[in-house]
């Protein structure tokens, strides 16, 4: 169909296997044969896992859900890059046509102190939820909102808010940062809300709370390497980080 160009491939996989949290992990080797260049990367892993089950071995655990790049569940470091070798995509959007027949591919989990490994390629990213919990919202209750159009918002600001809000919370920014910083994730949420009049009101308190929670969770500091922007599947800009830093400074001065 769209895929009239299918070719057969063999791939040598080196995959991270770790039985549980805190257990010792290791790379295992697996040769995957009879693959199609038109498969997605996760479909390749499906095939590998079904083969393992048929061989009476245990499959490799990995996280995934929507398989179309929007839920932010899939999370692998492939050949050293978060979400693998292609720009602005998630692992589930990566296709085998990006690789060559006979390639060796290394697959690891997102690694960070604040993302402890649960099993194999599955990590615990609940630290992100706790950062949002600390202030990533507009404090309105359900009901009683005014008519939506009584608050016009200029389109450029609204578009900027939207761009920042497209963050899928996957954690590739953390996984690709040598300091395991969550600055891109946190700043994107802050930017989304502070470009909008609804979110401005609580901007100072929100910035202070979310940045502090980020530190508490054990994410590292940002040293401006911009590796996060390069790995981000949604192309979220590092400008958000500078904006966050300015806002944080202003808010902490006011706080004193």
């Amino acid at each position: 169909m769209g895929n009239d160009n299918s070719t057969e491939m063999t791939i040598h996989l080196k995959i991270w296997k770790q039985d549980g949290p805190g257990k010792k992990g290791e790379f295992i080797s697996h040769e995957a044969k009879g693959l199609s260049s038109e498969m997605s990367f996760l479909e390749m892993l499906d095939v590998v896992n079904e083969d393992l089950v048929r061989l009476n071995q245990r499959p490799i655990e990995f996280d995934h859900d929507c398989r179309e790049g929007i839920c932010g569940t899939c999370s692998m470091v492939i050949n050293g890059e978060a979400h693998g070798p292609d720009k602005e995509i998630t692992t589930c959007q990566l296709h085998m046509r990006k690789f060559k027949d006979g390639d060796t591919i290394t697959v690891e989990p997102f690694r960070a102190k604040a993302f402890p490994i649960i099993r194999d390629l599955v990590v615990d990213r609940s630290s992100f939820d706790r950062v949002i919990e600390s202030g990533g919202y507009v404090s309105v209750n359900t009901g009683g909102a005014q008519d939506a159009n009584s608050l016009p918002i200029n389109k450029p600001d609204s578009d900027l808010a939207f761009e920042a809000a497209t963050c899928i919370g996957c954690g590739a920014c953390v996984a690709s940062c040598k300091n395991a910083s969550a600055s891109l994730f946190v700043s994107a949420k802050l930017a989304h809300l502070s470009f909008l009049p609804q979110g401005k009101i609580e901007q100072d308190a929100r910035t202070l709370a979310m940045v502090r929670q980020m530190d508490t969770e054990g994410f590292g500091a940002c040293t401006n390497t911009e590796a996060c922007e390069a790995a981000c599947p949604k192309g979220i800009s590092v400008e958000n980080i500078s904006r966050m830093n300015r806002q944080f400074l202003k808010a902490s001065i006011k706080e004193r």
């Binding site: 169909m1 769209g2 895929n3 009239d4 160009n5 299918s6 549980g20 038109e38 498969m39 997605s40 479909e43 499906d46 079904e50 089950v53 245990r58 499959p59 655990e61 995934h64 859900d65 929507c66 398989r67 179309e68 790049g69 929007i70 839920c71 932010g72 569940t73 602005e88 995509i89 959007q93 649960i118 099993r119 990213r125 939820d129 949002i132 919990e133 919202y137 507009v138 309105v140 209750n141 359900t142 009901g143 909102a145 005014q146 939506a148 159009n149 608050l151 016009p152 918002i153 389109k155 609204s158 808010a161 939207f162 809000a165 899928i168 919370g169 989304h192 809300l193 909008l196 609804q198």
Partner: protein, 641 residues
């Protein structure tokens, strides 16, 4: 309020004037005093638009809420993937829209198989949803003047769809998720992520809690409450290939069904016309190309003499824009069931395109010429990118290839006007219930329904239940909870012990094939009878020959899938039975025996103007009926010509 099961299927909607029903009902309902709310424990299963909105709002009201989902974060529920938009009757474009108009279109779109009272309420609260979401900071698309922008969706002749580029579901869900996390911070809601509900616990016929498996360490445990709210989404994944997220499943709803909740209209399945076609046996899911694309994309197949040619080389005169030809007034924006069937007819007539001939074209050439590439990209950029990543082809240059795929299930657990199932204390919201879309859902109305149920209906109706029902205190030490935990563990044990030869996916793929071929876009007595014979055989084989590897007390995707496929194997049979009983064609349910000479669906209002609701019992199932009464809308043949 009585605490008996509602097996008579009383809708409990107030009688009288349609426009004031909801208002009067709200006035008449019992309320829980603010200070007493925190004494009530409420379990909400699911954190999609319906469950997320419900848990957040119930938390705001002061109830003690426990919120469960299978994903690692509430923000990742399947609602996140919705692309095109959400309807509301704001009439901002001044094209004559109104609450009544939206109500009417939804009833008609559903082919007159939904309840007037529910649909009218849905249309009524649609406007509140948009206001609420904007107040939360949802960045809907705007015009240069700073006001909200709208677009059109199928089955409507007005522009009433609000959107956030091709990521409307994401933005709405992040809104609900943030409201939910705010309540978590306040301590009114406690989150249980990576938990799967595997049983409903009833005490004296009343829903009092759930049993779950902790997906990280396999622990099976129970949670008691005063009411259970189920918002666990649809069952399209029964077909193996669908546009649903991989984790979407029927298990929670199905286990409630087996505990007594009636399942309504299971055969109503929506096959979405514009999805990226299947490319090989390894295919794990199908990707939707949003209906919004039909605003500017034109659907066609080559005429006889140009078959097999490169589409860009085929002149206008050699193209059959069949939707525009057959349905001149709605054109490419006919409802989904109609568009899907027409695509199937083209392929059946051997006029399909692509390597396997199982696709049609969706073409943007005219729109790019009219609006410019930049304008098209601003509207649909992320969808075009998604298409290119998957197919390896550039839709700005060559038409997309599309084909229908399973997308949404209109059927679900039966609920009354208060969204309560036949089991007292079990309320069902969102795609998991059957309530608002009849036999066919119009585009952009699932998001509307999920949020309506969660933000604006359940907060009142649950209060009514809790305020009017005397519930004896129970906790997890009650025998019913212990029995439930034992049953869940026993099923798991049984699955591990089969140690057969086939993988869980082997069975799932086989089931999907039976369903697609026999209970898919068109059904007949012959195909349905075949499915009813084949599915139980497959189920039997599953329980003798499936292989579930690895341990129980670890993260184990295979045991998760095995439980879900076991349930799909039962629900699949019920879908076929329901389709066989419904001797008419309506909306997404197309029976070959019941069609007009022009191949349009032929309803039978005389005999089938009702909801078919199935009760599970030792003999299998018993079918019950809720008659649908139309006091405001006149039943006519749906026409989009």
């Amino acid at each position: 309020m009585s605490i008996k099961p509602n097996t008579e299927l009383k809708s409990n909607a107030p009688s009288g004037d349609l426009q004031t029903k909801w208002q009067r009902h709200r006035f008449e309902m019992k309320r829980v005093n603010p200070a007493n709310k925190r004494k009530f424990n409420v379990i909400v299963v699911g954190t999609g638009l319906a469950g997320g909105a419900a848990a957040a709002t119930l938390g705001e009201l002061g109830y003690n809420v426990k919120s469960f989902c299978v994903q690692d974060s509430a923000r990742r529920a399947h609602s996140i993937a919705a692309q095109g938009g959400i309807n509301a009757a704001k009439n901002y474009p001044n094209d004559g829209d109104s609450v009544y108009n939206l109500f009417y279109d939804t009833i008609k779109g559903g082919d007159y198989r939904s309840r007037e009272s529910n649909v009218h309420r849905l249309a009524e609260v649609s406007n509140n949803i948009i206001d609420q979401c904007v107040a939360q900071g949802v960045p809907f698309a705007r015009e240069y003047g700073g006001l909200l922008d709208n677009r059109s969706f199928g089955g409507a002749q007005v522009s009433r769809t609000f959107y956030a580029r091709g990521q409307t579901g994401q933005q709405l869900l992040l809104g609900a998720y943030s409201a939910l996390m705010r309540q978590v911070n306040k301590g009114t809601v406690k989150m249980y992520t990576r938990y799967e509900m595997l049983d409903l616990v009833t005490v004296d016929g009343v829903a009092r809690g759930i049993t779950t498996r902790n997906l990280v360490n396999g622990e099976v445990e129970s949670f008691a409450a005063d009411a259970v709210v189920l918002a666990t989404g649809g069952y399209g994944n029964l077909f193996f290939l669908s546009t649903n997220a991989m984790g979407s499943n029927a298990t929670a709803a199905w286990r409630c069904h087996k505990k007594g909740a009636f399942f309504a209209n299971p055969c109503y399945t929506q096959i979405h016309p514009t999805c990226i076609p299947v490319s090989g046996d390894y295919q794990s899911k199908l990707t939707l190309m949003s209906e919004s694309l039909r605003n500017d994309g034109r659907v066609w197949v080559p005429k006889e003499s140009s078959k097999g040619k490169n589409p860009v080389d085929i002149p206008e005169s050699e193209r059959d824009y069949y939707l525009e030809r057959i349905y001149p007034s709605f054109g490419n924006l006919v409802p989904r069931d109609v568009a899907s069937r027409q695509a199937k007819f083209r392929v059946d007539e051997n006029n399909g395109v692509g390597a396997t001939g199982v696709a049609v074209y969706l073409d943007f050439k005219e729109a790019i010429g009219r609006l410019g590439k930049d304008a098209v990209s601003a509207k649909y950029g992320n969808l075009f990118q998604m298409y290119e990543k998957i197919s390896g082809e550039n839709p700005y240059e060559t038409p997309m290839k599309i084909f229908p795929a399973v997308h949404y299930t209109m059927g679900g657990l039966w609920v009354d006007y208060n969204l309560q199932s036949t089991i007292p204390g079990l309320h069902v919201l969102g795609e998991a219930n059957f309530s608002d879309h009849g036999a066919n859902r119009l585009g952009a109305s699932a998001l509307m329904q999920g949020l309506a149920d969660g933000y604006f209906v359940i907060p009142y109706t649950l209060g009514h239940y809790l305020g009017s029902t005397a519930l004896a205190p129970v906790d997890e030490n009650h025998d019913a909870f212990k029995a439930s935990v034992m049953a869940v563990k026993a099923q798991e044990e049984k699955l591990f012990n089969i140690k057969g030869e086939k993988t869980v996916d082997d069975f799932h793929r086989q089931l999907g094939k039976i369903m697609w071929e026999n209970v898919g876009m068109s059904r007949s007595k012959e195909t349905l009878t075949k499915a009813i014979e084949e599915i139980p055989k497959l189920k039997e084989e599953f329980w003798q020959n499936v292989r579930v590897p690895d341990d129980r007390n670890v993260k184990n995707a295979e045991i998760e899938k095995a439980g879900r496929v076991a349930d799909f194997l039962e629900l699949g049979e019920l879908m076929a039975r329901d389709a066989l009983e419904r001797e008419e064609s309506c909306g997404g349910h197309f029976r070959e025996e019941h069609q007009t000479p022009e191949n349009e669906a032929k309803r039978d209002d005389e005999n089938f103007c009702h909801v078919g609701a199935w009760e599970h019992n030792s003999a299998g199932w018993t079918r019950h009926q809720e008659e649908l009464e139309f006091e405001n809308v006149k039943l006519v043949t749906r026409s989009y010509k």
